[in-house]
Symmetry: D2
């Protein structure tokens, strides 16, 4: 990890002395310039103190070249290996298509690069654990992109729960909805509704409340016959039972036409916390008989701060100042829970989860699976 | 039902002529002076235009006498029959303990009195249908006390859904919580959590969205070991599937310490409706670093308007100007659904509901039950 | 005032004994069936416990007759005197045109009737004091219709200020606006903008914060040249200085097109109170990109509770259980302040107010006037 | 201004070609490392795309050295001239004490550096105009730090007003308050309440609504006798009349104990806009009977986005892509208005403003002054 180096050199322009940077910026490469990749790249190119994006990579040459240019003349490449072979680069951000995540994490680990990987590491649980193990063995940090953990509202909620402000938790309720569905080409490669959408809520439930022992899911394809044709759904409700007895409920929609929504409530013995009301621009417009506010339209608008914060956190991970949040095991847990929901939905029954503990972490697996 | 009578008589004081009342006020008797009975009686004694409370009845003589006096010198009695035998009384409000509801409804019907009955008519479904039938045969109105149907917010939501403002419904979400639990003596006679608490949400779901085909419930006793001892729970989450495909989710708590909550959300194709934010006094107090509002503490505070409106509606029922809202069949439906939730919770499985239609109304029964 | 009379008589229907009413309802007459008169009459006819509206009066026979019929066959008359000569009537509500208020108050006092008078008693200060004096001498209660004093939000604010919750007051800010202006026929008889609109804010300022020593007003006619033609304005801002040093600011509009608004803020040493956010129906409708609520459209919708509460308070005044709130002297103070604002606006200067104290009450007059 | 240079060079690590940056980052120097200076420096050091902070300067050597180190090993100096003599530096940010602003702007202009100057340029109007003139003659951009112009909420309001969404403006209302006062050492050098606090509201009024013709101000020293001792105030209300007839009202406090507040309302013919409700963390905490949110405590928390945006805007100014917002003339206007308020408050009268137009800009001066 980047060590501070404190010696001084003369500053030619002033005759006064200039201290060598306490911290050289962390030099980052990024692979995959789709929507999330471009977004992370834009942040890394100028909004993340302590980070310097030095090279981007995408299999499509024009995409790689145009983004490198747009971001201020970065290096670019069509080969991921170029990032890994660049001795300047200390860390990589993996925002490629999901099926490439696990191998890219492993390759980064083999090259000794810290790695931030968009969720999920893999829809395959074995592949997920292999990638986690590779990072662990290489001694590099592996952080996964559940951005809600870095949202100021959710982080404040977590802190208050941990500090005991609301006492024992009785109920957890959360909503995650998109305004409109992505196209069916995306849906088909998404891993399914629970793995693509609900997985965020599973991570939040696990993080905010704790270990989950039962998942019961019901889904429906309501907005477009195309969902049924590809064997997927567009709305779901999921109930949870936590190891300490608390109950949980999740509702999700791909087609909540009014906007993007990510709201949660945690009801506890001594108090209740609510995260929501997430309007980025809080301008109220009043016209005859109505008072209106703009509602956020997508996750990028809703979580602009969280996406910056998760990259700032990753910089601290690279510097050895923080642990990955969430780490690979957290991501694996969310994947197991999503798979349990999928099974519950398909089989019309509650799925119970066993767990083992390894190195103090909860590893889920389906009971009897 | 009270007929308008329009002849005139001389007004002695002015020499001008006085029209005979378009409507004599509806004369009402009320039985059962517990919490809800006293509340309805206070409303009927002076806040419901067109109603005049003339006599109250309670098995406890001091309760009957003191309330009669408090309300301005009403007649009182310890015998319910006195209300039914009073030829002046056109309608009765039944707010006695639940186990007396069905027989009191039947007796009122036999006496030709319209009847407003607090929920539920009976925990026994046969008794419920018998009471409904008795009212139907006697040609008297039978209205049941699900006050949410008369809340201005919920009514406005219902109107907008019916008018097609939000299009096809995808998701229904609702929360009903009490600040603290009643004592275990109440709990033991309550019919169980689902019949006492969730039943309100079943009525709302059925009313706002439509027919329900699947109920899956999970409950937990978390706040006090006493709940387990009496075989009951204090928190529950319930998922629903509606006949038209929509999904629903209910969360309930007896112990949401911060206050009383009754909030709902209906996500539709073209828009979403939210009922909530129910602060009766909208005074904001700002102290260093905090902006606070009082939160309603109980259903009486939350639904003060709704309780008045449901009595005004009942007056219109007595006058033959409106249909009971909700009626006995609606109440029976909510009871069947609550029983299904109870079974789902106990057996850890989804309960499916069949239905038959009689006179255009949906009668639920559990599939295969 | 109505004395409770506690003897009993036999209840023929049951053989049980019926207590004579603790309190006979207060029998009320109402004069003036314009908008406010009809509204008060509807409340008095069935929504105010302890009150019974027995007769209404309006100079227009058809108005009197139709309202009497609508309200359940009340007595009616075209002569105000008929109310005063009716020995059954204990109290009158004066909702006639403003220029009749003072003489009607005096006549009511001469007849020994308690009187509720819509604001203002008179635009003429001498007439106002004469009417106050008449009520005082006759020993009848005189309550004036500044309904904000009975609004649950404002009352809660007043209680918290009085209890010292916010400490010494630094700033008072208040907004009162109508969605659209009444017609110019009304404007011409309104006494001018400050006497018709701002007077409510002067009463609120005086009630919530205390004595006022300086008024500086600026008005403008912006929405319609008609305002200038009749010598009036449609928007104004007014600053205040209170005797204890606090500053105040009022903004008013007749043409705030979005709806009716009555919001206030009181900034104190230890905390700040805000009254506002006054949506009667708190249903939120979300459509693509927008979250909207209905906004109240007029004062009747905004202050429905306050209008009922002020009549309930008046019942207690008639029964000798409460002091008039506000009383005639309060109304006179608001009139003096409105007149000062008018002068400030016309002369482009700050108007300072002297006061004398009589019987512990503040009587304002313009300094040097 | 920085020209894009588009040629390419070989990328040694990959063998692929690297485009030369479309835009080299703008190299910025910053002088004055007090609270605002440190805040701007932190932003410039890593959160402003397209900017690179290369050197900081402060008269206190330890302050300069420590901040340079904290920010990643920047160059530092105790002499402002070092920034101006550095040929690498294209632009300077002036965050020094107010009395140095004007001369530093002029020196920057003389060195051909673009300049961002914290408000105000000078309390002296002649000095202000001289500095503006110096920048104009040198052809460098001069942007002044009224950050509200770059707040997303206020900017959206401005856009809607300009687009005619609310029609003709009738009323403008704005509140600016601090939770607690800075110390009296600051107060004494602040230029007085109106020049230090209200000046922000004058800029907002002028920007959002337009030219102002009358200012009437009333202030009071309420929280601490120290204000009177130094001849200053801690609370004020100010009314405005705009050239197009609209009215305005401002209330300000240094001691609104609950938090920082910057809220505005613009009432127009067709609609009304409200900016406020500015909670950075929208987490609601519910405890028995209360629902609370954290309130922002200071301007840095409230305007975190705006401070970043104003620096991003300044980068575009340096690149020749945008005009300074606000510019020096805007700042001079706010200063004239603040001086008029001061005079109005001291003399107890309305101050009228004349204006001349030069190069299409409004220059204010007091009528007859």
């Amino acid at each position: 990890m980047t060590a501070p180096n404190g010696h001084q050199q003369a500053s030619p322009a002033t005759g006064e002395r200039k201290e060598i940077p306490m911290y050289e910026p962390v030099r980052v490469g990024l692979v995959g310039l789709g929507r999330m990749g471009r977004f992370h790249a834009t942040n890394l190119a100028g909004r993340i103190p302590g980070a310097r994006l030095v090279r981007v990579s995408d299999a499509a040459e024009d995409v790689a070249r145009e983004n490198a240019s747009r971001l201020g003349g970065l290096g670019w490449s069509t080969r991921y290996e170029d990032l890994l072979e660049d001795p300047e680069i200390e860390a990589v951000v993996v925002a490629s298509p999901t099926h490439l995540h696990a191998e890219m994490v492993e390759a980064a680990a083999a090259s000794g690069k810290h790695v931030f990987c968009e969720k999920p590491i893999s829809h395959d649980l074995e592949r997920t654990y292999d990638a986690i193990e590779a990072a662990r063995e290489a001694g590099v940090g592996l952080q996964v992109g559940f951005q809600r953990r870095h949202d100021p509202d959710y982080r404040a909620a977590k802190e208050r729960i941990s500090a005991g402000h609301i006492g024992e938790v009785y109920l957890f309720r959360t909503t995650l909805s998109d305004m409109r569905s992505p196209g069916f080409d995306y849906i088909e490669g998404s891993g399914g509704f629970f793995a693509d959408v609900t997985v965020h809520d599973f991570d939040a439930a696990h993080w905010l409340v704790g270990e989950i022992t039962e998942v019961t899911a019901a889904g429906a394809a309501l907005s477009d016959p195309g969902f049924e044709e590809v064997g997927d759904i567009d709305n779901a409700v999921i109930t949870l039972r936590f190891a300490d007895g608390a109950l949980g409920v999740i509702d999700n929609s791909r087609v909540a036409g009014y906007g993007y929504e990510c709201s949660s409530e945690i009801v506890g013995h001594r108090g209740t916390l609510r995260v929501g009301d997430h309007r980025r621009v809080s301008l109220e417009t009043l016209t005859p008989g109505r008072a209106c506010r703009d509602h956020v339209s997508d996750f990028v608008e809703r979580f602009a701060d969280a996406y910056r914060e998760e990259m700032e956190h990753f910089v601290r991970v690279v510097r050895g100042e923080a642990e990955p949040e969430p780490n690979g095991t957290d991501a694996a847990a969310a994947t197991v829970l999503a798979r349990a929901a999928e099974r519950s939905h398909r089989e019309g029954r509650t799925v119970r989860l066993d767990r083992e503990r390894r190195d103090g972490e909860v590893l889920y697996e389906e009971a009897g699976a």
